[in-house]
Amino acid sequence: MLIRRASDIRSSDVTDERTYLQRRDLIRLAGGIACATAVGTLVPGCSEHPAAESLAPAAPAAAAQATLENVRPAVVSTDEKQNTFEEITSYNNFYEFGLGKNDPQRYAGAMRTSPWSVKIDGLCNKPANYQLEDLVRPHALEERIYRLRCVEAWSMVIPWVGIPLSAVLSRAEPQGKAAFVEFTTLHRPSEMRGQSGTALEWPYREGLRLDEAMHPLTILAVGLYGRTLMNQNGAPLRLVVPWKYGFKSIKSIVRIRFVERQPATSWSMSNPAEYGFYSNVNPEVDHPRWSQSREKRLPALFASTRTRMFNGYDEVASLYAGMDLRKHY
């Protein structure tokens, strides 16, 4: 992989930073006024409310991500309209940096992503501790334009750049007993302010069945829109499993482990009645607190898009032949 410091970012991709900042200040000011004047200090948490915050985002993280070279387009991509870089990098669920949708953009800059090592171990013949470069370099980068369907019933179309997870896993030579793969996010509370809170049990962990992990649609993403990932999107290395709800696509991965039994996963640990291990996009199986039958394709106002089984990736259906997906939600 060739990573070059960005001097040749297409200007169309980047909002002029000064305009951006001024605009944000204006909104923050307006929000502050509305908050402070209407009820004064009578009401708790006025300024901390996530909705108010989402309208008053902070300064952008540095737009100078490195450009990725030799990215080849992949056939499995969708040609649906892509979300803008700004949408994809300003509206995130990454609880390690706070619960507000804009918190990751605000605070993820504190996370150091270099150097970065990834430990691959467990039931495999070639366990190793890779530097990120060594993990990624042997593989050709591919652009994969995927739909991302969040369990919260919104969706985006995102041009990822990544490598097939199967290629990385094969290098480690999984043993016959390995039936699942467990992933772990970086745990570094000093740089990840949300990890001081108890929203979830840290570090974040996720898992896939080995055949799901080996499926050609499953990738490890290192980039977005032709450039390396922003921290709020899970830099420097994240999973993307397009037929599952977004939270399965674990961010900022530091460990990949082959295991025999189904691993515990963060959201399922937090609320097993609402989040299962499989978490396949499924319009037939509602979240206990809301319907999953439709979705808002952001930035649309209306949830006018019908959610499709497996998020429209029918080619994975055979992985679940004979399984009751109501039981294995």
Partner: protein
């Protein structure tokens, strides 16, 4: 001076809406403007509801009886933002699929709680006019005690809605508990005490 207070509250009351409209029209919302609209109007409805519930305790504590003049306005703003909040859910989230709305109401306690909070506000808004107050007489006050139930349902709706962190809704719950607790406490003190034993003669 005092004549200016009501218009001022009116202006401040529409500010969140003005700000929201401005943000939506100029693309200054998050990538999910519908969510911004629904969350912002929901929270402002709850804030106005609690503000209207704060009038009576404030009046008692400060002796400023003039405050009572502003209570209806606060209550109507609460109702107004609840209307926008509900309309946003029906239009944006459910895309007017009313079969899905009824399914939500039956299956999802947090939607049920929100709808209860809203439904109870409807008769209160309707009977908030001078004519209704006069014709209902003492029953008006009785009817408008429904606001306590509505506020409790609204806080429950908020609590059950959040995915992982209940800190904010709990703060609102606490504030509501204080506002209602004060009333209970005053009510108890006003109840006739058991008569002191008659002095022996």
């Amino acid at each position: 001076m005092r004549r200016l207070v009501k218009p001022l509250i009116g202006v401040l009351g529409v500010l969140p809406l003005v700000w929201l409209t401005f943000a939506v029209l100029t693309g200054r919302t998050s990538a999910n403007p519908a969510e911004d609209i629904i969350l912002t109007t929901g929270i402002w409805s709850l804030r106005f509801l609690l503000a209207s519930l704060a009038i009576t305790p404030l009046r008692r504590l400060t002796g400023w009886n003039v405050l009572i003049q502003y209570r209806r306005m606060l209550g109507l703003f609460a109702f107004f933002y609840a209307c926008v909040h509900l309309a946003g859910y029906l239009a944006f989230d459910r895309f007017f699929a009313f079969d899905e709305v009824f399914a939500d109401l039956a299956k999802r306690p947090f939607i049920t709680a929100g709808m209860v909070a809203f439904a109870l506000m409807v008769p209160l808004a309707i009977t908030s006019t001078r004519g209704w107050i006069r014709s209902l007489g003492r029953r008006w006050q009785l009817l408008h005690r429904l606001v306590y139930v509505s506020a409790i349902a609204a806080v429950i709706h908020y609590l059950w809605k959040v995915k992982a962190d209940s800190t904010l809704p709990l703060r609102y719950a606490l504030l509501l508990a204080v506002l209602l607790g004060l009333r209970l406490w005053w009510l108890r003190r006003r109840l006739p005490r058991p008569a002191a034993a008659a002095p022996a003669r």
